[in-house]
C-alpha cells in the first residue's frame, strides 16, 4: 500500500470510495502475531501465538476472559485491545445486572463494532488498531466472531488474523467442514 493524497485524514474519502486511514488501521491488526479461532457445535476454541519483545521480557498476553461465557483473542495494538476488553467486561456485567442473564454474544459484538465505528467518523479520533476474535456460548449455541477496526464484524466457523494468518486460513479451509461434530480435545488439536 503506497501513500497517496487522500490518506491523511479519517474524514477523507479517496476518489475510489475508500477511507485509507481505516485500511491502515487494519494493517496494524496484520502486524500482531497470529490468532486462530475454530467452532464446533458445542465448543469454540481460540489459540494464540505469544510474542515477546526480547529474551528478558515476558510474553505478550493475547487471550482475555470477558465473562464466564465469552473470551477474546486480540491482534494489533495491545493498548487499544485493553480498552475494548474493559468495555466488553462492563457491558457483560451491566447486562447481567439488568437482565440477570448472560449477554448474547451477537449483541456484545454489535456493541463493540458500533464503538469501533464511532472512531472512524470523527475528525478528532483515530480507529481502534486491534482486531478481535470473540468466542462465546449463549442460548443460540457456540459462536465465533471477528471484529475489525472498520467497525465491521463477521461470524465464522473458523478464522485466523494477524501475521502469517493466511497459512492458518488455508489449513482451516481444508478442514473446517469436519469441525462441527468434533469434541473439545480434537478441536484443540486442530487449533
Amino acid at each position: 500500500m503506497f501513500r497517496n493524497q487522500y490518506d491523511t485524514d479519517i474524514t477523507t474519502y479517496s476518489p475510489q470510495g475508500r477511507v485509507h486511514q481505516i485500511e491502515y488501521a487494519m494493517e496494524a491488526v496484520k502486524q500482531g502475531s497470529a490468532v486462530v479461532g475454530l467452532r464446533a457445535k458445542d465448543y469454540v476454541v481460540l489459540a494464540t501465538l505469544k510474542r515477546s519483545t526480547s529474551e528478558l521480557a515476558s510474553n505478550q498476553r493475547k487471550l482475555f476472559e470477558i465473562d464466564s461465557h465469552v473470551g477474546v483473542a486480540i491482534s494489533g495494538l495491545t493498548a487499544d485491545a485493553r480498552v475494548l476488553t474493559r468495555f466488553m467486561r462492563t457491558e457483560c456485567h451491566n447486562h447481567k445486572f439488568v437482565y440477570e442473564t448472560s449477554m448474547p454474544v451477537s449483541h456484545l459484538v454489535l456493541t463493540i463494532a458500533d464503538k469501533c465505528q464511532v472512531s472512524t467518523q470523527r475528525a478528532s479520533k483515530r480507529p481502534f488498531g486491534v482486531g478481535l476474535l470473540v468466542a462465546g456460548y449463549d442460548a443460540t449455541g457456540a459462536h465465533l466472531y471477528q471484529t475489525c477496526p472498520s467497525g465491521n464484524y463477521f461470524e465464522y466457523k473458523a478464522f485466523a488474523i494477524g501475521a502469517r494468518s493466511q497459512s492458518a486460513k488455508t489449513y482451516l479451509e481444508r478442514h473446517f467442514e469436519t469441525f462441527e461434530e468434533l469434541d473439545l480435545k480434537d478441536l484443540c488439536r486442530h487449533a
Binding site: V98, E100, T101, P104, S106, L110, D138, A139
Partner: protein
C-alpha cells in the same frame, strides 16, 4: 387502591426535629414555588407522592402447562368507578404478559418502556428472545431506580411468562420489591384472594382449571372490594403463546332473602 399515603417527598415532609424547624422547611418550599411562579421560571421538579387513577387487584397462579393472571377492568378515581372498561393486562412478548395495580398512568409508562425494549430486540434481529425472567429483572431495575429517586412508578406489577417450557410468575412493586412465587396477588387480592389461590394451587393444575379459579376469586373480590367491578380479563401464557381474553362479565348473586327483606330488627344483619 385509594389509600392516602402520608409523608411524600418534596417540601411537604414534616420532620419531627422541632415544630419550628418543620414550619421553616415547608414554608421555604412554598415560598420557592411562589417565587418561581412569579418569576415565570420553570417550576421545580415534581414527584409522584400519591396515586390518582388506580387499578385494584391483580392475581396470578402457576400451572403445570402455563401461567394464568387476571384483573378487573376498572380504573378508579379515588372512590369513583371512573374508567370501567380498561385493560390492566399487557402482552409484552409472545412468551410474557404483565398486569398492574396502582396508578394507571404509571402502568401506561411501563408499557411504553417495555415495548421500547422489545422493539430494540426486534431491530437487533439476532435470534435471541428475552426470557420472562430477564424481563422481570429489567422491570425490577426500572422500579428500584425510580424508588431511589423518590419518584416511584406507583404500581404493583405481576409478570407471567412461559418460555422453553419453563413457567415464570413474579411480582415487582413500586419499591423494587421483587420475587417469584406459584401464587401472586396485589392489593385487596393480597388479603382476600391469596388464601383462596393458595388453597386452589396444585402442582398439576391446568390453565383451563386456573381460569375458572380466577373467575371465582375475582367474583369474591367484587363482592368485598369496594374498588372493583365484575367486568374482568384473564390472560394465559402457555406453549401456544399469550392469550388475553375479551372482557368477561361475572355473574353475581344479590337475591338473598336477607337482602330483599332487609334487616327488620336490630339483631338481624345482612352480613
Amino acid at each position: 387502591g385509594g389509600r392516602r399515603w402520608r409523608g411524600g417527598a418534596g417540601g411537604r415532609m414534616a420532620f419531627r426535629i422541632g415544630s419550628g424547624a418543620a414550619k421553616c422547611f415547608s414554608a421555604g418550599a412554598e415560598m420557592r414555588n411562589e417565587e418561581a411562579l412569579v418569576a415565570g421560571a420553570a417550576a421545580p421538579a415534581r414527584r409522584t407522592t400519591t396515586p390518582y387513577v388506580t387499578g385494584s387487584s391483580v392475581l396470578g397462579i402457576k400451572c403445570s402447562d402455563g401461567v394464568v393472571i387476571a384483573a378487573d377492568t376498572l380504573a378508579s378515581y379515588g372512590s369513583m368507578a371512573k374508567f370501567r372498561k380498561i385493560s390492566r393486562l399487557h402482552e409484552v412478548s409472545s412468551t410474557c404478559v404483565v398486569g398492574a395495580s396502582g396508578e394507571y398512568s404509571d402502568f401506561q409508562e411501563l408499557k411504553r418502556t417495555l415495548d421500547a425494549v422489545m422493539m430494540e430486540q426486534y431491530c437487533r434481529d439476532d435470534g435471541h428472545h428475552m426470557t420472562p425472567s430477564a424481563i422481570h429483572q429489567y422491570l425490577t431495575r426500572v422500579m428500584y431506580g425510580r424508588r431511589n429517586k423518590v419518584d416511584p412508578l406507583w404500581n404493583s406489577v405481576v409478570l407471567a411468562g412461559y418460555h422453553d417450557n419453563v413457567a415464570t410468575l413474579g411480582l415487582v412493586d413500586l419499591f423494587g420489591t421483587n420475587f417469584e412465587s406459584e401464587v401472586i396477588a396485589t392489593g385487596y387480592g393480597l388479603h382476600m384472594g391469596l388464601p383462596l389461590l393458595r388453597k386452589a394451587y396444585r402442582e398439576d393444575l391446568t390453565v383451563a382449571e386456573a381460569k375458572v379459579i380466577m373467575e371465582d376469586i375475582l367474583r369474591v373480590l367484587f363482592y368485598r372490594d369496594a374498588r372493583s367491578t365484575n367486568s374482568i380479563q384473564i390472560a394465559a401464557v402457555s406453549a401456544s403463546g399469550v392469550e388475553i381474553s375479551d372482557i368477561i362479565e361475572l355473574e353475581t348473586k344479590w337475591d338473598y332473602q336477607r337482602f330483599i327483606v332487609g334487616a327488620r330488627n336490630a339483631d338481624v344483619s345482612t352480613w
